[in-house]
Every structure is written in structure tokens, then in C-alpha cells.
Symmetry: C2
Subunit: 360 residues, 2 copies
């Protein structure tokens, strides 16, 4: 039995053990083909079939209609910050962004850097991004509205998504794609670095409504051109074959779990365990406003930094790892993505109660 | 014992069995850390140390001086076609390219698409790229000279690299990096998709002379900006962690083989076996001109297409896979990268002799 600790890392993050075991079993000889998946031509029938299946699985599990196509690209959300602006902002149009923290900011900065017309229509900066802004109005002429559905650093998450009518809604869902049920057909484009809920790092999932592909200009870098990659079903050049393969395994794992609804139920139970503990005593000081709490990243402070350091160190001794908060918030962050077990969260809660008894 | 066939795929390609076995052993618990490498934060001490070591290994094995830095990026050579043009062509300068086939062409087309000043100073197009052009003159004002060191499709390879004096020499070495000894310090920038000689797909190795980093403009996509990634030692955003890890394992494998000289000796022996067979009888019609033959990709035709199809099919029955030539050349292509064993090539040669006896 392999030695496995409880990994609360914000990403790359814990993966289902069964997925890792399958990777291990397949490593020298993928499905009897006499070679590893990572040694296989991306032009082979086997790999092509894997891409076709995974493209469909990503859509079907979430309930995207036939109007959408999945792309498997490289460069993570950072690449998409540029790709969204380069592909979707047409001359004379202005992109709109809602700033809910570091990642939104990077998306905004990228549009600015590339000389694109944009405006920030709402921000939670004044309160150190402890909530999702509720008061904003989308312009009739906007190229799109861009949101970050979950902020890994601050532990906030959109509870309901805005209705933008005819204006394309674009979301960076890197840290909460596949964590709960929502209507994906309200979105024009969703992108998500796989390394939290969907696989390893190095592959970014993009689901785009096909009519948007017509916006892609010719004179942008090929590697960032949605239309070119859509036409080739993500195989314009060699993709991250290992990454796509693992995304496939994770999609099957979600399906085997019972689909999105079962995953959401599991996630809500885990989050409840942890937030109940945070609300039990003033010893914990949760960062995110109650009505904006994330199911995926839970953030809180302790009475002082010394105690916070002690908490992280003693947790690690109990094999609870990756709990140090991001420097923008400080304190503690527990990332409890889909693959985190309820038992893992319970062990953290038990540790917290013990820690509070000793230090409260 | 795992079932393993002989894999002549052009890339992704065969990897050393020992590397695959290490990946397999590490999969559930990387070095006793209680998690897989692919579940580990790219900000962890362990992963950071892995990047630092791999960055140095890539340079040291090839003999790059301290003036160079290795970057591990995403997007393959396709991303680099854009990155080279965007980072290195300054206002008033013209990039120069030598066209030795499909890959050079894509690099050229990308500079054109991005509105950059460029010229093609030599091409082997007239002879269906069966050789490397020898007659060209690099302009004194060139932004750089770009070459493709090995053409996977046509089976040609630069035998000696041009001396460009003060003009930066840039090479796409995706298909022959680490296959033989050369002086890397003649180059300003070398890039190589890892999926042939250095690892899995999804990570592209860039070795850049540090003074060139000053050329990177601010207003290009961050994901393609060399300077930003150099400053963060490839960790500006989440890299392909699995890819970098496997590159590390392959670099160690090269070191354990005895370094570049031992690898070159091994490669020359393998290529000799195959070219000797191609030269033995007129039944085989080698594509590449003798003085430009590649150590990595060996291309040839048979008397007719029917025999070529038969060759590929019967080879596969003998567990010799991936031998179908690219449509631009037709016929047969055997890719014999570093990890291909001499025994594998010998089995191919034996099969060829048998095939010629029966069909010649």
C-alpha cells in the first residue's frame, strides 16, 4: 500500500487514487498496444479516439449543448487571458471584466498589455476581495463579460452566474469547473486549467460556443487561435497527450461517482464540515463573506501569525499538507477539490478542534 | 514483463524503458512525499528543486556556457514559431529563415502572419527538400537566422551548422536535440519540443543566451514572453510539471548512458545499420541526399505504393510499428531517436532483407 498523505494543495492538487493507479498500470503498455500512451503518435487511431471521446465527455458531463466544442490547449489560464482578448475583442468593441482578485486582474492586465479596449465594471478590491461584487451593469456593446468563477486565493465563489443576455459570458473556471451543477449554456466560453479538478497541469480545457469561432482573427499567434484548434479538434500540433489522457480518466471517475450532482453533494458535505468548524468559535477568522464562500478553497486567519505558523507546522506532522494561505490573505487555506475525500476534511477538522483546545 | 513492441513513431516517440519504469514506481508516492509528482504544488520546495536541477542538466549535458538559461514552456514548436518572431525581431530588423521543409515553413508563415519583417535566404523546395541548402549569405542587419536542424518528414539533417558571426543563430531542434555533439555556444537560441528525444509532449525546451532576453517587448502575450519566464525560472504560471519531471529523468538517462558522446556513437551505429541496408540494393529508394542524411529519421520509397503498403502492414505484424512515411514524401519513415535500441533497428533491417527477398 502506497504512503499517501492528505494534500490540501491549491493546484496542482490531489487526484483520485484510482486514476493514479490506472496511469500506473497503463504506463509500460497502454491497452495492449505495446507502448506507453506517452510514446504514442498523436496521429494514431488510438489517440485520436481518446481525444474524440474526451471532447464529448467534457461537454456531456456538464450538460453543454451541441453548440459547443471542447478544446485541449496548452499554456494554462495565462495563455487563455491572452487568447480570450485576442480572439474575441473585435474592433470597436470593449471587453468588460469583473475583478474578484488576482486571477481576474491578470486577465485584465493581459487585455491592457495587448492594447485591447476593455473596462472593469465591478471590483471587490476595497475589501481585499472577500466577496463577489453584486452591483454591476453589462454594457450593450460589450465584446464579452469576463468573470473568474472561483478565487483560489481569497476563497470566494460566484453562487449564481449573471444573466448577460446577448453579451457573451466568458469564465475562467480553473479552480471550480465540475464542482457543482450549473447551466453551462449561459456561457459563451469557459476555460479551466486542468490541474485542480480535472487532471494534471499542462492542459487547459476550453469549451467554446461554436459561433464565437468566427471571431478569431488570422493575424494572431497560431498557438492562441481558437478557430485553428477547433478545426483540427485540438490536434493542429502535438498536444499534451498525457494531460488529455488523464483528463479522460478523471471525467470517467466523475461519471462513475454518479456525475456532477453526486460530486456536488460530496463537495457540499465537505465544505459544510469545514465551514461549520470555522463558525463554531471566534478562534477562527474566515476571510470570505458568508454569502460568497467557495466550495473549493476555504480561507481563514488565526488570532496571530505565530499561531498560524504553528498550525501549518503541526498539521504537516499529522500528514495534513499544503495548508499555508497565499500571501495576499495570509493564514490558512484548505483546498478541497473534487478528489479530496470527506475523511480528509474530517481529519483536518479533528486537528483544528484539537489545536483550538490547546491554543485557544 | 510488459508487452513492448518496436515503436518507430516520429513523435511522441519511444522512451527509455527505465524512464517509464521510474514514472510507474513514483506514480502514487513521489520520493516518499505521500503524493504523486503530478499532485504536487509547482511552488513546493521539491518541485522547485527539480526545475533548478533540470534547467542545469539540460545545459550541462550539451555544454552550454553560463551565458545561457533553459526554459520549460508550453505549446511546442508551434508556440515557439510565434515566440521567436515576437521576442527577437526588433523594429527595423529583418529575420532570415532557411527553408528545409514543412517545419521551417510553419516558422516562416508565423512571422508573416504576425506582420514581422522576414526573408527566406535559401530553400530546398525545388528538390522536395531532399537536402540542406549550402549556398546562402546571412545579411549584416538580420534580426537572426532561423534554421530547422533536422527535418522529421524528409529525413534531412544539418551536418555542420553555419557560422553567423554576430547574427544570432536560432534553431528548431525538436527532432534532434541531444542526438549528437555540437558546439551549442554558437547558437543564440535553441528550442525543442520534448516529445522526440527528451520526454513526453506538452513541454518545449528553450535554451536562450541571456543577452537576448532584453529584446522581449512588453506588449506580447505573457505566455510567449521569454523574459518573464526567465525571471521566474519557468514558474511564472503552472508549467507542465509531469513533462519537466520526465525531461529530468531522460537527462539522467543520457548521463547514465555516458553523456552526449556515447549517445552519438549509439545513434551513428543505428543509422549506419539502416543506411547500409538502404544502399545495399536498388529495391530501396532513399529520399534524402547522402550528404544530408538524418541520424534520427530515415526515409525511403519502394518500387511502388502497393509494396509500400504491404511493407508497413507486414512490419506491423512483426511488431515493428509507426513506419508509414509522411504524405509529403510517401513510402517509409523509420524514426530512430535516442531511446530506440540497436536491437530494434536490427530487427527492422532483418525484416527489410526478408521483405526484399520475397518481393524484390
Amino acid at each position: 500500500m502506497a504512503h499517501r498523505i492528505i494534500n490540501f494543495s491549491a493546484g496542482p492538487a490531489t487526484l483520485p487514487l484510482s486514476v493514479l493507479q490506472t496511469i500506473q498500470e497503463d504506463m509500460l503498455d497502454y491497452h495492449g498496444e505495446g507502448m506507453s500512451l506517452i510514446e504514442m503518435s498523436h496521429r494514431s487511431k488510438t489517440f485520436d479516439a481518446l481525444v474524440v471521446e474526451t471532447e464529448a465527455l467534457v461537454r456531456e458531463l456538464m450538460g453543454f449543448s451541441e453548440d459547443y466544442q471542447t478544446l485541449f490547449l496548452q499554456g494554462g489560464a495565462t495563455g487563455q487571458f491572452a487568447a480570450v482578448a485576442l480572439n474575441l475583442i473585435r474592433e470597436g468593441k470593449t471587453a468588460e471584466y469583473i475583478d474578484t482578485g488576482a486571477w481576474s486582474n491578470k486577465a485584465i492586465k493581459e487585455a491592457e498589455k495587448l492594447g485591447k479596449s476593455y473596462r472593469v465594471i465591478a471590483s471587490s478590491k476595497e475589501s481585499n476581495h472577500n466577496h463577489i461584487p453584486g452591483n454591476f451593469k453589462v454594457g450593450n456593446d460589450a465584446a464579452y463579460l469576463h468573470i473568474t468563477s472561483n478565487n483560489t486565493i481569497f476563497g470566494t465563489q460566484w453562487q449564481e452566474f449573471p444573466d448577460t443576455g446577448d453579451i457573451p459570458l466568458v469564465a475562467d473556471m480553473s479552480s471550480d469547473f465540475y464542482c457543482k451543477r450549473f447551466d453551462p449554456n449561459k456561457f459563451a466560453l469557459i476555460y479551466a486549467g486542468a490541474q485542480k479538478n480535472a487532471g494534471p497541469s499542462g492542459v487547459v480545457i476550453v469549451v467554446i460556443r461554436k459561433d464565437l469561432l468566427e471571431r478569431s482573427p488570422v493575424n494572431i499567434p497560431t498557438i492562441l487561435n481558437y478557430k485553428i484548434y477547433a478545426e483540427k479538434n485540438s490536434l493542429y500540433n502535438t498536444p499534451n497527450t498525457f494531460g488529455i489522457y488523464v483528463v479522460n480518466l478523471v471525467m470517467h471517475w466523475i461519471k462513475d461517482m454518479g456525475g456532477i450532482d453526486a460530486v456536488e453533494k460530496h463537495n457540499r458535505q465537505k465544505a459544510q464540515l469545514l465551514y461549520d468548524e470555522l463558525d463554531r468559535t471566534d478562534f477562527w477568522r474566515p476571510h470570505a463573506r458568508k454569502d460568497c464562500r467557495s466550495l473549493m478553497n476555504v480561507t481563514w486567519r488565526l488570532p496571530n501569525e505565530e499561531l498560524e505558523k504553528k498550525f501549518v507546522a503541526e498539521a504537516l506532522e499529522q500528514e495534513l499538507s499544503g495548508l499555508k494561505g497565499h500571501r495576499s490573505v495570509g493564514g490558512i487555506r484548505a483546498s478541497i477539490y473534487n478528489a479530496m475525500s470527506k475523511e480528509g476534511v474530517q481529519r483536518l477538522v479533528d486537528f483544528m478542534q484539537e489545536f483550538e483546545r490547546k491554543n485557544g
